[in-house]
């Protein structure tokens, strides 16, 4: 396993100068690359390194850093190794190259990411809607979309539970404790 990993890291690094690797103590390797490198590194991994199986494409929203992290997870049946290829893209103008010519099924993943995060895959040909229908709000999986607020506003909640009380508030009321404002964020 160690030799295989070293070999892969060497070859990737020699082909893709921008790749930053990270090794794990189980059968996993990570490569961070620039977003322009994505199609070529995936193509290389699939055709040259035998990572034939695309396990997953996912996206993590780092709202504070104003970035999306798109992660491609590949699996090699021959080397029994997971490879993660990750890249960061600008959250306000999320654009990434389409890769469904490398793996046909990537099309579905990209449709989902497009709908849920608003990432545009250049050259993606697919129907506009995937899971949602007539959706008018922002892409819902973005972290700044508040599903609780939306659900409370849109859907009806059955009444009859308004008499619920907060345990801490009840005790505060009973004892006359004065909780300062700066402490309130530490309530459960």
């Amino acid at each position: 396993m160690k030799e295989i990993k070293t070999k892969i890291i060497e070859r990737i690094k020699s082909h893709f100068q921008d790749a930053v690797e990270r090794d794990y103590d189980y059968n996993r390797l990570d490569f961070s690359v620039k977003k322009e490198t994505i199609p070529s590194i995936l193509f290389y991994l699939k055709d040259e390194m035998n990572f034939k199986h695309l396990s997953h494409i996912t996206c993590v929203d780092w709202l504070e850093e104003k970035e999306f992290e798109v992660v491609f997870i590949l699996w090699s049946y021959t080397d029994r190794l997971q490879v993660y290829v990750r890249t960061r893209i600008d959250r306000d103008h999320p654009v990434l190259d389409n890769i469904d010519m490398i793996w046909r099924q990537a099309n579905t993943y990209e449709r989902e990411l497009k709908e849920m995060y608003g990432i545009n895959f250049t050259g993606l040909e697919a129907p506009e809607e995937f899971l949602l229908e007539d959706w008018e709000g922002p892409p819902p999986m973005r972290r700044d979309f508040d599903t609780r607020e939306y659900a409370a506003r849109t859907y009806y909640t059955r009444p009859g539970r308004e008499d619920a009380q907060d345990v801490r508030e009840t005790i505060i009321k009973r004892t006359g404790e004065e909780l300062p404002d700066f402490a309130k964020k530490y309530k459960r």
């Binding site: 008499d163 619920a164 009380q165 907060d166 004892t175 530490y186 309530k187």
Partner: protein
């Protein structure tokens, strides 16, 4: 494959061999309710007696299916919010997480699963109230093993028992960061503890701040209503831990040690000032005189100073802190800890006149006349005498006086066989200090060990250090030698007789069970009382005192509206946190009285 496949046509017909067999259809369903498995997760049942209304079930419920609501017949008390869970079955997903996080184990799921109705509003149930029969049907419950609560406390690093007696070094070493985070993470943030705390400190909030690695915020929250947290972090009687929700099935959260951890992370007064950073209001011109720099007096001074009052403390001794300075041994509460806090209190503008005994160096009258309000926090300086023959022999000392001498840095010669009489914290302190002076120590206590009012950790600590405890022993006589020095103590064993009126059992001496124990010194520690000789006659008449304590109203005001009182001299619990609570109440009282009255005049 031919058009007609004979085998493929006939083989399925072998199904006919099942013909005439007993079907496994459940014919009774739906007319008879079928019994579910022994571990089935069905409707909730709540044991209302066991439940403490901590609301942890409502917190864990990801569906917000559980509301905490008041129930008729259940009153809130210390350690019980008085609320009980109500389940919205239009939300519940029968996951049972609420059961797994219930700290008391009162909530469980039953085998009942059948409810059908045409009314969508009929799915709100109060487990235990609406289904009392559920008690017999409990199927999914939590035990200490399966519960998700963390019942084991992170052990506090301590000096080893025999190592401790060699010096007055602090016994408890304090949590490091990792331990504190882990301990704080055990807390379920219910807040039941805040009710048991006389001062109602914001316990869940500062524990949460520690758990979220924000110690500075924790310190700020702590200082919101306690100016002596490091002292409380070390020697508080921690009534909060008695009612901790986790304590029902495990060890309570180490609230005291966590407070200690938070305050110890700030190592000097300047840093406290920087972190706490309180807003000091413009001077409002009112002057408040405070008698005694004990916990209650310091609290009054600190918070009034923050509110713009001019505060002056009159303290008879050379150092502030009162009993916490002179009564608590240094292995529990080192002097530097106290100094740091006093320094900080002085930094916010409190003036302390040391070595100024009211009644001697300055008259109470003068303080009364020159200030707009007076707070009396004089404590209980005078020990009770035992009332035993031979008490006045040489070598028979009051434990409080003994501790005072030791804390003042003096040496006291006790010999090598010390008898301590009493079971409170003072008795244990005296015993453990005597051990550190090299004596063999025996504690004689009237009742059983579990009846001792002292902190259980202190009792354990004493035992670890080799203090011998003789319970149910009542001293009857001290024997002296020809020089008038005590040589032995005669005591009688007692049996515990249950109190008819429901009080705690009483010790009754057993005839003829007298025993004698050798002694070079006897330390009496059966309690203290007030000493109000500093009050001039006119005040002594005016201020109502009952059973040795000032009579005060809910804002700590005595019968003279200008005089407020607090601490041991005004409350029955006689501990530092109660004194701080008294002080905090008095602050609000004094502010209300002076500022509000003033505003009233302007209008």
């Amino acid at each position: 494959m031919s058009f007609f496949d004979l085998k493929g046509t006939l083989k399925p017909l072998t199904a006919l061999k099942q013909f005439g067999r007993k079907p496994h259809t459940l014919k009774d369903v739906p007319y008879v309710t079928r019994e579910a498995a022994d571990r089935y997760r069905g409707f909730h049942y709540n044991d209302l007696e066991q439940c403490i209304g901590c609301g942890n079930c409502a917190t864990i419920c990801q569906n917000q299916a559980i509301d905490m609501v008041p129930v008729e017949g259940i009153e809130g008390k210390k350690g019980d919010s008085g609320l009980r869970p109500r389940v919205d079955n239009g939300r519940c997903c029968w996951c049972g997480l609420c059961v797994d996080v219930c700290p008391t184990g009162s909530l469980s799921l039953t085998k009942d699963y059948l409810y059908v109705s045409e009314d969508p509003n009929s799915f709100l149930w109060m487990p235990g109230v609406d289904n009392p029969q559920g008690k017999e049907r409990i199927s999914f419950f939590s035990t200490e093993e399966t519960s998700l609560n963390d019942f084991a406390r992170i052990p506090m690093p301590e000096l080893e028992g025999m190592e401790r007696v060699k010096s007055f070094a602090e016994v408890v070493l304090g949590y490091n960061e990792e331990q504190a985070r882990a301990e704080a993470s055990r807390c379920i943030s219910c807040g039941l503890c805040t009710e048991a705390c006389p001062e109602h400190m914001h316990i869940p909030e500062y524990i949460n701040a520690i758990a979220r690695a924000n110690d500075a915020d924790a310190v700020r929250i702590i200082y919101d209503n306690n100016p002596l947290p490091e002292m409380c972090g070390k020697v508080c009687t921690r009534r909060c831990e008695d009612v901790c929700a986790i304590a029902h099935r495990g060890e309570p959260i180490a609230i005291r040690w966590l407070k200690r951890y938070a305050t110890e992370t700030v190592d000097n007064a300047d840093l406290i000032k920087e972190i706490v950073n309180p807003e000091i209001k413009e001077p409002n011109g009112f002057k408040v005189g405070i008698v005694g720099a004990g916990p209650s007096g310091l609290t009054v001074a600190y918070y009034l100073a923050l509110r713009g009052f001019d505060c002056t403390i009159y303290e008879a001794h050379a150092k502030a802190g009162g009993m916490t300075m002179y009564g608590i041994p240094k292995y529990r509460f080192p002097e530097e800890s106290l100094d740091k806090q006093i320094e900080y209190i002085e930094k916010v503008g409190v003036k302390i006149n040391f070595n100024t005994k009211v009644g001697k160096d300055i008259s109470f009258r003068e303080i009364y006349d020159t200030h707009d309000a007076v707070f009396v926090g004089v404590g209980f300086p005078k020990p009770w005498t035992l009332g035993v023959e031979g008490e006045n022999l040489k070598g028979s000392i009051q434990a409080v006086n003994f501790l005072y001498e030791i804390n003042n840095g003096k040496r006291v010669d006790l010999g090598d066989k010390v008898i301590v009489i009493g079971g409170g914290n003072v008795a244990i302190d005296a015993a453990r200090v005597s051990r550190r002076l090299g004596a063999d120590v025996t504690i004689l206590y009237r009742r059983r060990v579990q009846d001792m009012p002292a902190d259980w950790e202190e009792i354990e600590g004493a035992e670890e250090e080799g203090v011998h405890i003789v319970p149910q022993a009542i001293p009857v006589k001290f024997h002296g030698d020809e020089k008038g020095h005590v040589i032995s103590v005669e005591y009688v064993m007692a049996e515990m007789v249950p109190d008819e009126r429901g009080g705690r059992p009483k010790p009754v001496p057993i005839e003829g069970s007298n025993k004698t124990i050798e002694a070079t010194a006897v330390l009496g520690a059966i309690g203290q009382q007030g000493d109000y000789s500093f009050l001039e006659e006119e005040f002594a008449e005016k201020i109502k005192i009952e059973r040795g304590r000032f009579v005060v109203n809910e804002i700590q005001q005595t019968s003279d509206p200008k005089i407020f009182a607090g601490g041991d001299a005004a409350n029955r619990t006689a501990d530092a946190i109660s004194a701080i609570a008294d002080g905090y109440r008095a602050v609000k009282g004094i502010e209300a009285m002076l500022v509000k009255k003033d505003e009233g005049n302007v209008d």
